[in-house]
């Protein structure tokens, strides 16, 4: 009898272990567990996290099952394991697992998470910044909201994902390692004021906040997981494994796979916001609210609009000569006018301080403004109720495919195009720097007389104009452009091509109520150039970009080359007619030796 009982007991234990093991194997393939370990789709046999210290099992980085087994053992043996992995712990408990160790008190975690309770989550979009290659596409942050009637939103937690770049890194190394790998990356947790200040006040980037309608349990679950991965290391790749990808994956922990696409070789922050705007959660829209925080320069432009003509004139006088604050023209103004002028000049002084323009003059201006403002009553006078800027999800999508028909010298050809990203100077102004151009891998092929031709391959085409947006101070900065690639010069001849690298520098000016930009650029070219026997050439370019009606835009330019065997000039014009967020039509004209006309239909996606 005893032997039978023993055999039944052994059988029971073995069967229990087998069942437990089978359950663990199932759990190890659960999407939430795979997300908690940041395992790569579709095989899930390698984690994005590269430091082995993150994993409990020595094989955890490559095996979700081994990591799950080790996690369960750890929760049974070590009372502090649940404090280190609070998201794993709560999730496994929800799956019905129980552990021999009782619930521990996790003082540091509770202090971080609950002292000022995290009640919701937002994603923040910082608009693009042309002065840093890594910021051209904008940036994405996650904000753990703790603010209340008593606590300011600047003290929310803001979670950033970025590469660990050494100080004073060489620019070329920075770009190369950023694109092809070599930097480690990770999440950092700071108070939000540091990011709002850095992006909005120093880099002058507008911020958009998308507040998510998550349940409290899910908000806490994401906060717990962030606690787990704050020290984790990742490999950084600018194009795909970037801030947008990894922060979107955090949200996917609770909403499922709605934001990222592992098959795509690139990931752009605005794409996440487009998808976020369409995402659902508990059968409702995931995004509860979208808020705008203007940059310092956006605020200044709006403040200038609030000044009367007389106030603007006096403000200009004070800007030139701070002593004007003590003259009758200013003193005789009413208090509201004085406050409006000083508040606007404060914004200007801040901008000038950031740009390090006229340092000593701005210092004394600000001192004089403070001194005068302290004599006036408390409270702001200028209030901007709404801004014209639109949220990033309303912008044109970054990737593009096109079909076109071109006529050159009475010959027609049919063309196809593809552009990896992101926008050109005729695109919608939503969530980008107006008039600028940022295109990567822009290619066109054409078919003529049954032959296939490569017409264009621009690897990188950047153009930045910095005109003055207000009447004074006329502080337009330098405009610049760079372009590298291949281009067929079919207005010279069908076999004429340029393989080139070029750069330009110049000035730009706004007119027509800031709707028209006039620009002039001095350009230099190096490469295999069709119009000259030399490997270099230079040109002077004059042009304008303007809005004709509604969103219909025109760009036209004339470029006069210094060298060149044939016609030394080129004139071109292009009109963009948007159909909707996904389509536009382009009509373009180019003339040098020959004249070409092109009709193109663009489809924007991602």
């Amino acid at each position: 009898m005893k032997i039978y009982s023993f055999i039944i007991f052994i059988f029971f234990i073995a069967s229990f272990n087998l069942q437990a093991s089978a359950t663990l194997k199932q759990l190890a393939q659960h999407p939430t567990w795979l997300n908690l370990g940041h395992y790569k789709k579709p095989a899930f046999n390698k984690s994005y996290i590269t430091n082995t210290s993150f994993f409990i099992s020595s094989r955890g980085a490559t095996s979700p099952f081994e990591e799950l087994k080790a996690t369960v053992q750890s929760f049974n043996k070590d009372p502090l394991a649940q404090c280190k992995y609070p998201a794993r712990y709560t999730w496994l408990q929800k799956q019905g697992l129980t552990f021999t160790q009782p619930k521990s008190s996790c003082i540091e975690l509770e202090q971080w998470r609950d002292a000022q309770p995290i009640h919701s989550i937002s994603l923040i979009f910082a608009s693009g910044y042309m002065s840093n290659p890594a910021s051209l596409y904008g940036h994405l942050l996650l904000k753990l909201n703790r603010s209340s009637a008593k606590n300011n939103k600047l003290l929310d937690y803001s979670i950033n994902y970025g590469a660990h770049v050494p100080d004073n890194e060489n620019g070329l190394v920075y770009i190369t390692k950023g694109l092809f790998g070599g930097y480690k990356a990770g999440f950092s947790d700071q108070l939000f004021y540091r990011h709002q200040h850095n992006y909005g006040e120093i880099e002058l980037r507008d911020l958009w906040e998308y507040k998510l309608a998550l349940k409290n349990d899910d908000t806490k679950f994401i906060a717990n997981h962030l606690w787990e991965i704050l020290g984790a290391q990742f490999d950084y790749y600018f194009a795909d494994e970037n801030c947008a990808f990894h922060i979107a994956q955090l949200i996917e922990l609770v909403i499922g796979e709605q934001l990222t696409n592992n098959s795509s070789p690139w990931m752009i922050p605005t794409t996440v916001f487009s998808k976020l705007n369409q995402a659902t959660y508990n059968n409702k829209k995931l995004v509860q609210e979208v808020r705008f925080t203007p940059s310092r320069s956006t605020v200044f432009i709006e403040y200038m609009k609030k000044l009367t003509s007389n106030e603007s004139t006096i403000a200009e006088q004070i800007y030139k000569t701070p002593d004007f604050l003590e003259q009758d023209d200013f003193i005789s103004l009413n208090i509201k006018s004085k406050k409006r002028i000083i508040e606007t000049l404060f914004e200007l002084a801040q901008l000038q301080q950031i740009k390090k323009h006229n340092i000593e003059h701005i210092k004394s201006l600000k001192k004089a403004l403070i001194k005068t403002r302290l004599t006036l009553p408390i409270g702001n006078e200028v209030h901007v109720s709404s801004y014209t800027q639109q949220a990033p999800h309303k912008g044109q999508k970054p990737s593009n495919m096109s079909v076109s028909s071109t006529q050159v010298n009475k010959q027609h050809n049919f063309g196809l195009g593809f552009r990896l990203s992101y926008f050109d100077s005729l695109a919608s102004d939503v969530a980008r720097i107006a008039f600028s151009n940022l295109e990567m891998v822009d290619t066109e092929v054409s078919i003529l007389n049954s032959n296939l031709y490569l017409d264009k391959l621009h690897l990188l085409d950047l153009e930045s104009f910095s005109p003055a947006y207000v009447k004074w101070p006329k502080e337009n900065n330098l405009s610049w452009k760079i372009n590298a690639g291949f281009e067929r010069q079919n207005t010279l001849c069908q076999s004429c091509t340029n393989t080139f690298v070029m750069g330009g520098i110049g000035k730009s000016y706004l007119t027509n109520n800031n709707k028209t930009l006039l620009f002039t650029l001095a350009n230099g070219y190096i490469g295999d150039l069709a119009a000259t026997d030399n490997i270099y050439d230079a040109s002077l370019e004059l042009g304008l970009i303007t809005t004709l009606y509604s969103d219909i835009k025109l760009r036209t330019s004339h470029e006069q080359f210094i060298l060149g065997n044939d016609d030394k000039s080129s004139t071109q014009a292009e009109i963009s007619i948007p159909i909707n967020q996904n389509f536009d039509i382009r009509v373009s004209y180019k003339h040098s030796n020959l004249t070409s006309w092109k009709l193109k239909l663009n489809y924007y996606w991602q």
């Binding site: 971080w112 606590n151 600047l154 990770g186 947790d189 540091r194 801040q350 302290l374 009553p377 408390i378």
Partner: protein, 153 residues
């Protein structure tokens, strides 16, 4: 009697533990400057001005030295990074940054408007040319008038 009192005072002072944070000069003993120049207070202050306090911290909850975890040090960090906006908001008598600074310092929001008014009045009478001077002004106001409204450090 005097000897007894003196002895008692000496004995008492030996057992009174001053919080480590209270004596800390955040510019000289905390942040990047302190890490680069641990023994040289002046050099540390210069380095902090250039690099700003505490950029090395990965977490809002992490700080290198125990004595650099107090609300006063966090306030100093806040002032260091946002000084140009703070002086503007103090002059105007309101703003989200000055309010956030008082939150960081652990001051009740109900006392904010009175504190801002007092700081503004002092600001008008004293020469406050940098972040450290503003920090000193804020702390002296808290010590003299608002200690009941703000957390101890």
């Amino acid at each position: 009697m005097i000897k007894r009192c003196l002895a008692a005072a000496v004995l008492a002072s030996a057992f009174v533990v001053t919080p480590a944070q209270a004596d800390v000069n955040p510019w000289q003993q905390c942040g990047i400057g302190a890490m680069v120049f641990p023994d040289n207070g002046t050099a540390a202050a210069i380095s902090n001005v250039i690099w700003d306090l505490g950029t090395t911290a990965v977490s809002s909850n992490v700080s290198s030295v125990e004595s650099c975890k107090g609300a006063n040090v966090k306030t100093a960090q806040f002032i260091q990074q946002t000084f140009p906006i703070l002086e503007q908001e103090i002059a105007q008598g309101e703003g989200e940054y000055i309010s956030a600074m008082l939150n960081v310092r652990g001051c009740d929001s109900s006392a904010h408007s009175q504190m801002i008014t007092t700081i503004r009045n002092d600001f008008a009478q004293t020469s406050v040319n940098d972040a450290q001077a503003l920090y000193t002004l804020v702390e002296s106001n808290i010590a003299s008038q608002f200690s009941a409204n703000c957390s101890a450090i």
